[in-house]
Every structure is written in C-alpha cells, then in structure tokens.
C-alpha cells in the first residue's frame, strides 16, 4: 500500500480514443519521488528523445507529487513533462492552483497523454470514471470561456480544469497550459504540444482521499514547517507585494534587463513595481490550494486604462478582476519591452492567460523584434505597425496577433531564437537552448548566468535561484560580481530545487523554509524512510536523468552557452556598468563538481553512484 502517492495513473491514447488505468511503478516512485522526478523517469523510459515535439510520439505527462493534495503548505503543484517545442530539450513546467490536488482526490498521481486526436477532444476525469469527450465547439475559444463552457456542460461546479487557448492550438512555440484560469504551466511550449495532440482540456473532479502513512507525525511535521514559514517575514513581503516586490530591488541593483538586454536599468521601474500595484490596482491576494503564503495578485486595470489599448479578439469587461501580473510577467511585458504602463502590462498579461501563452517568452520575443525594428532590420511593411520600445499599443496588439498567428504575430509565435535567425540576427536572441531569459541580467548577477546556461529546460530562474544569496543574502551572502563559489552553489540549488519539485510542493516555500524542513513531512506522508541525503540525491538523480535525456536528444555542451551580448557587451550604464558574464570561469568547475566530462557528459562513476547506469 502506497501512502502520499495514490499509486495509480491514467494513460490516455488520443489516437485510439482510449483511457486506461495503470498502477504506478512503485520502485520509480521511491527513487524519483514524484512530480518532476517521476514524470522525467517515465518520459525517459518510454519515449525516443529524437522525435519532433509535435509528433504524436511525443508524450505529454502531468505529474503530481506525494505531498500534492495534503495539508502541507503549498501542496498544490504538478509538473508537465514533455519535449519542449521551444527548445527541443526535455521540459518540466510547473503549475499550482487546485487542479493537481483534485487529480489526487480522483485517485491518480499522473496522466500520460499519447498520440493525436483525429478531432479535438477533452478529457473528463471524475473519480474512477474517465472519458474523452468531443471538444469541437471549444476549439478556438480562450481559456476562460473554455473553462466556463466545460463546467456548464458537465454540470459539476467543483471540477477543476486545465486547458489550452488559441495559442496552444496554433502551436505557438511558447504556448502554456492554463489551469483554474490563471495558473500556468508556462514555459517551453507545453501548451503547443497539447494543441498538436488535439487535446483541448482536462477537467477533473475527485471526491476521494489522499492517505498518509503516519497521520500524527504528518500533522506535526506539516505544522512545524508551516509555523517556520509563517515566521519568516519574507513570507509577509510576498503576501504584501507578491513577486512583483522584486521589481525595484532588482532595478536598484542595476540587474533589470531593459529593451532586450541593451540596458540593465529601467527608468520607469517604479511605475510597474509591486509597491505601485499595491497602491493603485491590487484588489486581493490569492492563494493556490493549501498555500499559506498567498503570493498571487488579483488586480484590475486602473480607471484611466479601461478604454486604452484596444483589444480586438473578444470584447471583455476590463472592470473585472484578474490575476497578475507577477514579477516575471511584468518584467518581460514591461521593462524588457520598455513599457512602463501597468495597464498595458495588465491587459497583455490577461490576454496571455486567456489565449494561453507564456508571458516571459512573449515579452522577450517582442523585445527582440523591437530591437530589430529600431535597428532598421525589419520595417512597418513587415510588422504592420510601429514596434518601438515603450509602445503599450504594440505590446497588447502583438500579444493577440501572436496567439492567433496573424500578420507579424506569425513570426513572433516561433520564439525569439527562430525569429531573430530568420531576419539574419540570431545574436539578438537573449536566451539559452532556444528559451528566452527571465528577469535577471546575468552580467550583473554572475551565478544566474551559470544557472541559465546549465538549466536542462533552457534559460530558467527556477532551477537555481542564486538571486537568493547574490542579491537577497540568503542563506549566505555572496557577491553578485564574483564567480568564485558560484558553481558549487548552483549545483546545490539545482539538486535541492529539483528534489522539492518532486515532492509536489511549491518552490516559493523556500523563501521561508529549506528542504530540511520539508524532509520530515515527506517521510511522514509516504512512510518511506528517506534520509535527508537520500532526498538531495534524488534531486541529483533527476537532474542527471534530464541531462541524459537531452544528450540523447542531440544536445551537447555547446548548448550550455550564453549569447554574445551577455559574454562580450558590457552593461553600458548603472550600478553594474562594465560587467559581462564570465561563464568560462564557472562552467568547467560546474562540470567537475557534477562529475561530468569537459564535454558535459555524466561520467560512468557518477551514473553508477546515482543508480543510473
């Protein structure tokens, strides 16, 4: 008998229009824990990494963890694991809300989606019943309307829905899978894979239970963790300003990428900061399931913004509240595009949610296009409108056009790498492995450069958040300008974060607690007597398995690279003026610490040590 895990999964064959129940591989569950770990293991064992991401042979895995759906703070998460259309690498995109707990209560740890539907379908899971239903009427609809329609059709008010919007259907390479309307498995184009499979949505309702092995120990452990989390005042800061509280902090350090990384400070940062949002547009904080932090923002357009930035796809009431914007979104749609109007950012962000796109890649791709435009590489005849940095009109308009692949939006929909290469300026793509950078300039924060370069799913801030020591001073203070010690801390953060991702909890827990606080909760819930070292080792095992997958997919050490601008063009102004990223000083040491060859391949000894040979 498994505890924490439900021990079952759903296998959905869209080509045959079949759903089957399967037992979870218990040995894998123990070794890879769950969530990101077990999802990666299944993908590794079942799929040829060389297939095209849009091929029916690509698999789309939704994996929750053993702590998902328990009372442990922030136990709301699931991971979408597949081959990413943006990167060609393995991707693991995480989301919260209440969809994953609902899946657990229905009785499943995972859903594995295979094949391709002849006609659009959606999956309906209600406890032991699972069926594929016609989604013809829903195709083309936004995420919000899709949710409302499915809920009406099913007549089950309490169901939770994960869906794609038009962006996923149109295979926008950074399309997201949205659940509970506003929560996103955002990056690398997981929504485009779902679209290519012809799967519009997965609705879930569960009335069952998540059982734990040692109930009393579980309640004690989760309560201790929660108390510690509540006592960490950064948690209070998160409640007050959300992630957007970082906007001013990063800008003051001169590490806020602006105008496609041409600058590292944004003059209008204050106007798009968490402080400004809280004063002018914030209505409420919102939590994901079981979350005791509540970083989510519910806000709205300011009165003066209601009639600005005309939206053509569908009329909508801009007085309605909506979620966001978060720091990353406000940075990409804001500073990176030079846009300093929160209303434009808010509308673009709502559209990204409803149309089902990753706002980071959207903003960053548009920023690259704006640079091409301002440099005269592309002109209005191609773009259909002025694409100047700072234009809120261009921002909102291009978000819509991208999701629908209309006009120049069709170019943006390919992501910044393909788009800049098409116009002969691949050097203006700011990212790694085809995925655009998030909101920290790696020239001003050296460790982030290594983290971006070595992230298995392309540039990502969530794989090794060295901003924590380098800017926020936790758990130790490290100089962001130095490279010394960064390889070691990057590896450690990667392993810890990966282990955390496997539990089904949220990475934001670590603003207040560490993996050591989470460890006893996992042991009590599962009844598996992991030592703390076992748990860290599981993180390392998963990281290396992702790496092996990427190597089999054809990626090499050459893909652990930063763009020329980051390595050679110094930041022109501000506190970090004159800095470039010195990746070369860190990467070799990182490979050594990982037990990898200079070509970035895990050694035989390392694989044996991790049980991967």
């Amino acid at each position: 008998m498994l505890y924490g895990w439900t021990g079952k999964l759903l296998r959905v064959d869209l080509s045959r229009r079949e759903v089957r129940f399967e037992l979870l591989n218990e040995e894998w569950a123990r070794q890879y824990v769950g969530g990101r770990g077990i999802g990666v293991k299944y993908l590794y064992e079942e799929m040829d990494p060389k297939v095209d991401p849009f091929d029916p042979a690509n698999k789309l895995i939704f994996a929750s963890g053993p702590l998902t759906g328990t009372m442990a703070s922030c136990g709301a998460r699931y991971m979408v694991v597949t081959k990413g259309p943006l990167t060609g690498a393995i991707t693991t995109s995480n989301s919260g809300g209440r969809w994953a707990p609902e899946l657990k209560y229905a009785g499943y740890d995972m859903i594995i989606v295979e094949g391709r539907a002849e006609r659009p379908l959606y999956l309906w899971v209600f406890d032991e019943r699972a069926e594929l239903r016609d989604a013809g009427q829903l195709w083309g609809k936004g995420v919000f309307e899709t949710e409302d329609s499915i809920r009406r059709e099913l007549g089950v008010a309490d169901c939770s829905i994960a869906a794609i919007g038009p962006a996923g259907e149109n295979r926008v390479r950074f399309a997201a899978i949205m659940n509970d309307k506003f929560r996103a498995a955002g990056r690398s184009g997981v929504g485009a894979v779902m679209g290519a499979k012809g799967l519009k949505a997965i609705a879930v309702r569960g009335t069952g239970a998540v059982r734990v092995a040692r109930p009393q120990a579980m309640m004690r452990a989760q309560w201790a963790m929660r108390q510690k989390l509540a006592a960490a005042p950064s948690t209070g800061g998160m409640a007050r300003y959300g992630t957007l509280g970082l906007m001013n902090v990063i800008n003051e350090h001169g590490a806020l990428p602006t105008n496609n990384f041409q600058l590292a400070q944004f003059e209008e940062a204050e106007a798009i900061s968490g402080e400004t949002l809280a004063q002018t547009r914030l209505l409420a904080n919102k939590a994901c399931f079981a979350c005791t932090i509540a970083c989510g923002r519910v806000s709205r357009v300011a009165e003066q913004g209601i009639d600005r930035y005309v939206v053509t796809t569908s009329p909508r009431n801009w007085r309605h509240a909506s979620e966001g914007p978060e720091y990353e979104n406000a940075w990409a749609l804001g500073a990176d595009c030079g846009v300093g109007d929160l209303d434009a950012i808010f509308k673009a962000n709502v559209l990204c949610n409803d149309l089902g796109m990753d706002p980071i890649s959207m903003g960053a791709t548009l920023a690259a296009a704006m640079e091409l435009y301002e440099k005269g590489v592309i002109d209005e005849a191609q773009t259909g409108m002025e694409l100047r940095f700072g234009s809120g009109e261009a921002l909102v308009s291009m978000v819509e056009k991208t999701a629908l692949r209309q006009g120049f939006g069709n170019e943006l929909a390919e992501g910044a790498k393909r788009m800049t290469e098409k116009f002969g300026h691949g050097e203006l793509f700011m990212g790694v492995k085809g995925q655009e950078f998030p909101a920290y300039d790696p020239r001003a924060i050296q460790g982030m450069g290594l983290g971006y370069a070595t992230s298995n799913r392309g540039a990502c801030h969530l794989r090794a958040y060295t901003v924590s020591p380098e800017i926020l001073g936790q758990p130790v203070k490290m100089d962001p300008r130095q490279t010394k010690g960064k390889a070691e801390i990057t590896k450690m953060f990667q392993d810890h974060s990966t282990a955390l991702d496997a539990t089904g909890l949220c990475v934001f827990l670590t603003f207040g607690v560490t993996l050591e606080d989470i460890h006893p909760v996992l042991v009590a819930a599962t009844g598996v007597d992991y030592t703390f070292e076992d748990l860290v080792r599981a993180g390392e095992r998963i990281w290396n398995l992702e790496r092996l997958w990427n190597l089999r997919a054809g990626l090499t050490a050459d893909d652990d690279r930063l763009p020329r601008r980051i390595l050679e063009e110094p930041i022109p102004a501000g506190p970090a003026r004159g800095e470039v990223n010195r990746l070369g000083e860190m990467l070799g040491e990182y490979y050594r610490l990982r037990g990898w060859s200079p070509k970035g391949e895990p050694s035989r000894e390392k694989l044996a040590e991790l049980g991967l040979s």
């Binding site: 409420a284 939590a287 994901c288 399931f289 079981a290």
Partner: protein, 163 residues
C-alpha cells in the same frame, strides 16, 4: 433557544482562498486529506476578487432542527452549535432538504446527516486558517453572513459600475 454564545465569525476580506480550512475540517471528519468531506467550503468568485469560506451559520431558529422527525438535532449546551445525534438520526435527509444554506450534508458511508458542530469548542478550521479569516468567539448566529454577502456584492458592483 439561545441566540448568543460562541460561534464562528467569518471575515471574508482576509480569505485568500487557500482551503486550509477544508483540509482541516476533512481531517476531523475522516482522518485523511479529503476536502469533499469538509463541512466548510470555500467559495471563489474570481472576477469579483472575492473568496470566502461558507459554513453552517448555526441558525437561532434552525430549519434542520425544526424539520427533523425524530429530534436527532440538538442544541449544544454551551453555545450556538446544532448537533446531529448519531444514535438518533435515521438518515431521512429531511434536514438536508430543509436547510436553506446547504450546510448540512448526508454521509452515505454511515447513512447519517452530518453538519458543523464547532468541534466542541475548538474548531479545526479556525486553527488552520493562515490569515485569521475564521475566528471563534462570542457571536450572534449567522451574523457573518451579512459581511459575506456585502463582500461579494461589492465586487459585483465594482465590476459593473466601476469605482
């Protein structure tokens, strides 16, 4: 019938919609994590930016109590709680039909009605709430329902009329 005593007070402005209260209540009911068994339910109105738990208001003149043909619903000695007496309840569900708030349930696994009994004075939902959106103390039966309605209505009015 007493209309004063210790009861729940729900402060909707503080709720973040996290459902820790549901998890805690379900734990009391079932010893597992199973929100479908919770007697307190969080309602989320996204477009109105309003979320709030909703639970038996422990009516001063309780419909469930009045309608029960076998007098299986009693008033707690020390407070507002209306209690289902398991040994008396015959599972006829009349109370479920009579309750205008939808806060008394039928549990098919035991064939009895089940409702919030305020955890004998130490409500688990109160302890579980991270933002103190549920308090326990002297209160008038169902007084919080007024705040609850106002909060949801404000969001609606804002969405329709602006301001």
């Amino acid at each position: 019938m007493k209309d004063n005593g210790n009861g729940l007070r729900i402060i909707p402005e503080r709720c973040t919609g996290c459902r820790q209260c549901e998890l805690a209540c379900a734990w009391v009911q079932s010893g597992t994590f199973q929100p479908s068994r919770s007697l307190i339910r969080v309602h989320v109105f996204d477009e109105q930016a309003a979320f709030a738990p909703y639970v038996c208001p422990q009516c001063a003149e309780a419909w469930c109590l009045g309608v029960c043909p076998v007098n299986a619903i009693d008033v707690a000695a020390d407070g507002l709680a209306k209690l289902v007496l398991d040994e008396v309840c015959v599972g006829c569900k009349l109370c479920v039909i009579a309750c205008p708030f939808g806060t008394i349930f039928y549990d098919p696994s035991v064939g009895k009605a089940v409702k919030c009994d305020l955890c004998a004075g130490d409500p688990a939902c109160v302890r579980a709430c991270p933002t103190r959106a549920i308090e326990y103390g002297p209160s008038e039966a169902g007084r919080w329902l007024v705040d609850w309605g106002r909060k949801i209505n404000e969001g609606y009015v804002r969405a329709v009329e602006g301001g």
